[in-house]
């Protein structure tokens, strides 16, 4: 391979920049967030600007079909030795890609993998940077990104003055993946191998569910730190049973071992993908919890703290003592 086989034309066509999407994959499968970025890119592309997807991995060719969706103009594969995510080879490949293509915008999923490399890329080269962005637009030539602040209670619009390359990590489940397939051109970029200082050893599956499948539950009643102590768990278990809900919990409850990890919902817990009704009791709403439950159409938040972040994503809010509320719901549902 002599440099970039398919991109020599691009460097000759001055002025045609691109939006570069970094595909995320794990154990041979493309991660869904990747395709959401294609839709995000369509919204900010300038006339003549192409949308390119970078596949970095040990066998990038295997994922070409998965990213050949409508809206993708080209795919650039970069072969590295590591099959699974390791920061050093991914960053070396990305630095080389950005240098070669000079994209106006680089889009990365706001994922755990990206937590491990996105800021490193931007800091090293002083590219424009923001993370957990849920809205991007162009006003005239300026790129404007919106993210949350102060526990998602405010929105913050940021701009990138003087930055010709901007790297953004994009929140999941905001943009819908495109429908339909595309016929992008495929090229490859050869990147020199770098020593990997952080090496992948193994994946460990989360412990199996105790008796429930949170991903199938339509009605979840979740408890958070507000329950105070482990001895109070049964009270809410009974309430969930009475209401016909599956009992779930936020991260601190699972971390404390009060409920099994399989009951944890939110981004790092189980994806409650079938959930239509979610009652959050004593959950203030950490960012990952809110992001992981935002898709639920009806969220009822019950919290004694009127300032809790959960009220900003809930459809209904109740400021009340959760123990009194649990009693009142028990009584009245009988």
């Amino acid at each position: 391979m002599s440099g970039m086989s398919g991109t020599s034309g691009t460097s000759g066509t001055s002025g045609t920049s691109c939006i570069l999407i970094i595909a995320e994959h794990r154990r041979g499968e493309l991660r869904a967030a990747t395709l959401e970025l294609v839709t995000a890119a369509q919204g900010i592309r300038r006339a003549g600007e192409k949308v390119a997807v970078a596949l970095i991995g040990a066998a990038p060719q295997a994922l070409v079909a998965a990213v050949s969706v409508a809206g993708v103009d080209e795919i650039v594969t970069v072969q590295v030795a590591a099959a699974e995510f390791e920061p050093d080879p991914v960053e070396a490949a990305l630095h080389a890609l950005i240098e070669a293509r000079r994209p106006s915008v680089v889009l990365v999923p706001h994922s755990i993998d990206a937590f491990g490399y996105a800021a490193a890329i931007a800091a090293k080269k002083s590219y424009g940077f923001s993370s957990d962005v849920f809205q991007i637009e162009r006003q005239a030539e300026a790129l404007i990104a919106t993210r949350g602040g102060y526990g998602q209670k405010v929105n913050i619009e940021v701009e990138f003055p003087g930055k010709s390359i901007v790297l953004l990590t994009i929140r999941g489940n905001v943009y819908k993946p495109p429908e339909g397939t595309g016929a992008p051109s495929v090229s490859s970029l050869a990147v020199a191998a770098v020593p990997s200082r952080v090496r992948s050893l193994a994946f460990i599956e989360p412990p199996p569910s105790d008796d429930v499948d949170m991903t199938a539950a339509e009605f979840i009643l979740s408890i958070g730190r507000g329950i105070g102590e482990e001895a109070n768990v049964p009270k809410f278990r009974e309430l969930a049973d009475r209401l016909g809900a599956t009992l779930g919990c936020s991260r601190p409850i699972a971390d404390a071992g009060w409920l099994p990890k399989s009951r944890q919902v939110g981004q790092s817990g189980k994806t409650a993908s079938a959930c239509k009704l979610y009652i959050a009791m004593g959950i203030s709403g950490a960012i990952q919890h809110l992001a992981g439950m935002k898709h639920v159409s009806t969220i009822i938040a019950i919290n004694s703290d009127a300032a809790a972040s959960i009220f900003s994503v809930a459809r209904y809010g109740v400021v009340a003592d959760i123990f009194e509320m649990a009693d009142a719901l028990q009584e009245r549902s009988s």
Binding site: R26, E86, H110, S111, I112, D113, F115, G116, A118, A119, A120, I121, A123, K124, Y127, F129, S130, S131, D132, A145, G149, Y150, G151, K153, V154, I156, E157, V158, E159, R199, S200, F203, I204, E205, P206, E218, F219, P252, A254, D255, Q264, S268, K270, K276, L277, I279, T298, I299, I300, A301, I302, A306, F311, S312, R315, Y316, G317, V318, L329, R332
Partner: protein, 271 residues
Amino acid sequence: MKILVAVKQVAALDEDFEIRADGKDVEADFLLRDLNEWDDFALEEAVRIKEASAGTPVEVVVVSVGPDDADETLRKCLAKGADRAIRVWEEAIEGSDPIAIAHVLAAVARREAPELLFAGAQSSDHAFAATGIATAALLDWAHAAVLTQLSVSPGARTARFRRELEGGLLHEMETELPAVLTIQLGINTPRYASLRAIKQAAAKPIELLSLAELSVAAEAVGEAGSLSRVRRMYLPEKGRAEMIEGSIESQAQRVLQIIRKVAGESAGGAA
């Protein structure tokens, strides 16, 4: 062995708050300060390594980039077991984004030369999830994010850890040292400081460093050193839920109505 723990004094909003006249931040009077929760776990992890070390002495140093009132957070860390505390501040740092802060932290890391630098995986206020990893890039150190388990023997040249991926999947990895590792909630159970430790911490010195002492150029911090600039801050449109008011009984009644309605709809009206 030395572990440097980067901590942030985060800001939470009061129930009522006002956006500043320039529209770019919240009035400082409405901010409640505390140690970032993720950093509490990072500090605990460092202190546990120190306490578990049989032969090799381990020093835990905390550093924070922030104004005077960040001393309160640093004293909390000293009370929880940190050996030393460093604070870096001057006016020029005001308005820094996480990458500008990383320039300062990298300079402190060069000066302290620890084997490990811990940072919280993110902060509870602005949640960039960027500062630690940006610091690693500026130092050109190995780095990994969102750790839920770490095993390292003082004096060893590598460390093993697990990071927690989406859906609870764990990824076991190994890193060379020195390394920057960002810590996820749940990696341990942070301790409460004893009253005695709090008293002792109040008397401990906090080293204050300037940019000049760290050889950090003024252009590397503040707005000049930041990779983005705030245009405006505003309240999201559908910012709040429909609040159910009234007595606890009437609130409960309304909640049950909503449950029955949604349950009825999802059962296709059959319920």
